[in-house]
């Protein structure tokens, strides 16, 4: 793409980000100076760093984002730790390990080529949008069609921002937050998922490109679902996303992440980190729908999704994770709760669907530290094709955690004879007063169930959808309404053609 075109696009992007301070001139200056700032950086037009990872790259990322010294040091510390670590192998997944030196760790906000109209977009993608019931305007946005009526979405976003600002809620990209609210970021970043937590978290800490930041002040109930949909600068989530949500004392927030529309991201490796902090009496509800490219029917391509998500609950606080995972070739993900405060509550509701050659190793950790802490785990795994679907969960009761309670239920549904469902529950209790329950079932969609539906006039595809939705109902019910309907359709689409 021609350089000037890129410039103009970037500017409009920044403008819509509501960063009025950043002008076209600033951008030009930045672009001109870059060559000098980064000696190795030659190809300005492509806006991508050379492949490979070393301290210079980490520094360059930090500098590019104009970060304060403490942030740069924090990243470097993570990088040094990462160098000493090894990629974990305990998960029940099999894949060719990425060559971390072959990856480029920074590229400008991804810009796909714009299409002039929807007619030029892959019809298969449009068909999927249609099935999901996504509005035309939104379809254009998702497929990367140049929009005529950008005004609409901007005005929606503006009203939205105004409402939030009135309540003192901060909702912006993490890069902006580092600039505008360094005290909050500094205080909480890495407190739940330390830099050295695990291989991928360390990598993310060193190189994270962007992500979301959210702060709900004391006693405020966030009046709407916060969603990455609404954050205008969310043009395609980054490869190394970093999210930090802080709910101050007595506040409440429901946060939606992801997208039901298929993401045709060509980045193979995704390593995100999400940290939630629920202070005394606060509640965070975090819902995810993940539909990254799962690879083709032969198992070629697809995203490796290695995510670390963890929340910390102070006294009487509550964190609920709800996830619908249908995408990615390999998923490694365990949204967890550290129930530090007395009477705190952790919940995990998950639906993981694998089809064709997908592999998922997902579950949760509930770490009970405080007294009277409670946790609930409902996991629904659906495997089809030649896929492998594992639940891995840890329930840990600390010595101080008097009267801790846990209930876990792990259900697996198999479709066909070539897929696998596995359950790896770990239970560790250091307190005799704990009550821990674990239930697990494995079932198969029976020919007799399908025939029964057929006999009532329900065709096989629809019958499968009905059975799967029934199986997943307890989790679907936990999703915010607008997400639930789309997620339900997504389940149908993900399993299309999985029954002969």
């Amino acid at each position: 793409m021609h350089k000037e075109l890129v410039d103009v696009e970037r500017v409009s992007l920044y403008k819509s980000k509501n960063m009025s301070k950043y002008t076209e001139d600033d951008l030009k200056v930045e672009l001109e100076n870059k060559e000098y700032e980064y000696g190795f950086y030659t190809d300005i037009e492509s806006e991508t760093f050379p492949a490979g990872l070393n301290e210079d790259i980490v520094r360059a990322i930090s500098k590019k984002k104009n970060e304060p010294q403490w942030m740069t040091d924090w990243r470097l510390e993570a990088f040094r730790a990462w160098q000493q670590m090894e990629e974990p192998e305990w998960a029940n997944v099999n894949y060719e390990k990425p060559d971390f030196q072959a990856v480029s760790y920074y590229s400008a906000p991804k810009k796909k080529d714009k299409y002039a109209s929807l007619d030029e977009v892959d019809p298969e993608l449009l068909e999927t949008f249609k099935k999901l019931g996504i509005s035309l305007d939104e379809q254009k946005k998702l497929a990367g069609v140049a929009m005529d009526i950008v005004v609409d979405s901007v005005s929606v976003a503006t009203t939205f921002k105004k409402t939030l600002a009135e309540k003192g809620i901060i909702f912006m990209s993490i890069s902006e937050a580092i600039q505008e609210h360094p005290e909050l970021v500094k205080k909480y970043l890495g407190t739940v998922v330390p830099q050295k937590d695990n291989f991928y978290a360390a990598l993310n800490s060193a190189v994270f490109s962007d992500g979301s930041f959210c702060y709900i002040p004391k006693g405020v109930r966030c009046p709407m679902e916060l969603s990455t949909y609404f954050r205008i600068n969310q043009g395609g989530t980054g490869q190394f996303e970093r999210t930090l949500v802080i709910a101050d004392e007595g506040s409440y927030v429901s946060y939606l992440e992801g997208c039901t529309a298929p993401s045709r991201d060509e980045n193979q490796l995704h390593a995100a980190v999400v940290e939630l902090i629920a202070l005394d009496d606060a509640e965070i509800k975090y819902s995810t729908v993940q539909n990254w490219y799962p690879g083709n029917k032969e198992g070629k391509g697809g995203v490796f999704n290695f995510v670390t998500k963890r929340g910390l609950c102070e006294k009487n606080a509550k964190i609920s994770w709800t996830q619908v995972e249908t995408g990615s070739a390999v998923t490694w993900k365990y949204p967890s709760c550290v129930l530090k405060g007395d009477n705190s509550i952790g919940e995990f509701y998950s639906i993981a669907v694998t089809n064709n050659f997908q592999q998922a190793d997902t579950g949760t950790k509930m770490i009970h530290l405080g007294k009277n802490t409670k946790s609930t785990i409902i996991s629904k795994g659906i495997s089809a094709g030649k896929s492998q679907n594992s639940y891995r969960g840890l329930v840990q009761i600390g010595a101080r955690a008097e009267n801790a309670r846990n209930f876990s239920q792990c259900d697996s549904l198999l479709m066909g004879n070539n897929c696998g469902a596995h359950t790896f529950p770990y239970i560790e209790s250091k307190n005799a007063s704990a009550k821990i329950e674990h239930e697990a079932t494995t079932s198969k969609i029976g020919e007799d169930q399908v025939f029964y539906c057929n006999q009532r006039g329900i065709p096989t595809e629809k019958a499968i959808a009905l059975i799967v939705n029934g199986f997943s109902k307890e989790v679907l019910n936990k999703l915010p309404m607008e997400f639930a309907v789309e997620a339900q359709k997504l389940l149908e689409i993900s399993l299309e053609g999985s029954v002969g």
Binding site: F451, Y452, Q455, R456, I458, P459, L466, G470, F471, K473
Partner: protein, 250 residues
């Protein structure tokens, strides 16, 4: 309405039906009786289109149209209903949601709009009352944890909702206590009219006390060996099947 001509069928290369001929006219009730293993349930599965059975010879007509090559859902759309001997459980799918889906799929297949919600609700109420079903029952997961009687009542409820042309009741009396039997039979009788037909498949005569057949057929070793009126069922109840067997070999 339903016409079966020289029907032969097998499962895993074992011949089960060996030339069935049967004609059921609109407004009629037929019963098929026979000892265990005679092929009664096979016959009902084949009419409904269960692909585990292979039709090796013969034809099945519904209102003059050959249906033996049609998918089970297509037959359902045309008005074939099977009340299962062992209805399956579908966890998480409520009785209401299931029947709503079934009705709308049928309407869609027949080029009709979805049934409006208020009409659906009214119909569900009406038919569930007919079968003396508790309102709470309707929001339970389909057949999950249902007693034998509840399962069968739910089958007839679905039949009432779908209003089929031909309803096949496969051992509907098994697992029913006398009260449930009366309710189910009463439901079937109220649904019967000049434009539909019922095929009752049963091992015992007692259901036929309530649903009185116009014709009784005896199925043995894959063939209909005797046909008579309602009194034939009583005779079978009294004498068992052996005398027919002897009649056959004699």
């Amino acid at each position: 309405m339903l016409q079966i001509k020289n029907l032969h069928a097998s499962v895993e290369d074992k011949d089960i039906l060996k030339g069935i001929n049967l004609e059921i006219k609109a407004g009629e009730v037929h019963a098929i009786m026979g000892p265990n293993g005679a092929g009664k349930s096979t016959l009902s599965s084949i009419i409904a289109g269960n692909e585990n059975y292979e039709v090796t010879e013969g034809e099945i007509f519904l209102d003059g149209e050959e249906i033996s090559e049609l998918a089970p859902e297509e037959r359902a759309h045309k008005g074939v209903f099977l009340s299962f001997q062992y209805p399956v459980e579908i966890p998480g799918v409520s009785v209401t949601n299931f029947i709503k889906t079934a009705i709308n799929e049928k309407r869609k297949a027949n080029g009709e709009e979805e049934m409006p919600a208020n009409e659906m609700l009214k119909k569900i109420r009406e038919k569930s009352e007919l079968l003396e079903m508790d309102r709470k029952f309707l929001s339970r997961s389909l057949n999950e944890g249902f007693s034998g009687g509840e399962k069968k009542r739910n089958e007839i409820f679905q039949m009432a909702m779908l209003e089929p042309k031909i309803a096949i009741l496969d051992e509907t009396d098994s697992g029913l206590d006398i009260d449930a039997l009366r309710i189910v039979a009463n439901g079937v009788n109220k649904l019967k009219n000049e434009n539909n037909a019922v095929l009752v498949i049963t091992h015992y005569q007692r259901l036929l006390d309530y649903i009185v057949p116009d014709f009784v057929h005896v199925l043995m070793d894959g063939k209909i060996v005797k046909t008579g009126g309602a009194d034939l069922a009583l005779e079978l109840e009294e004498k068992g099947y052996d005398w027919i067997k002897q009649e056959q070999t004699a």
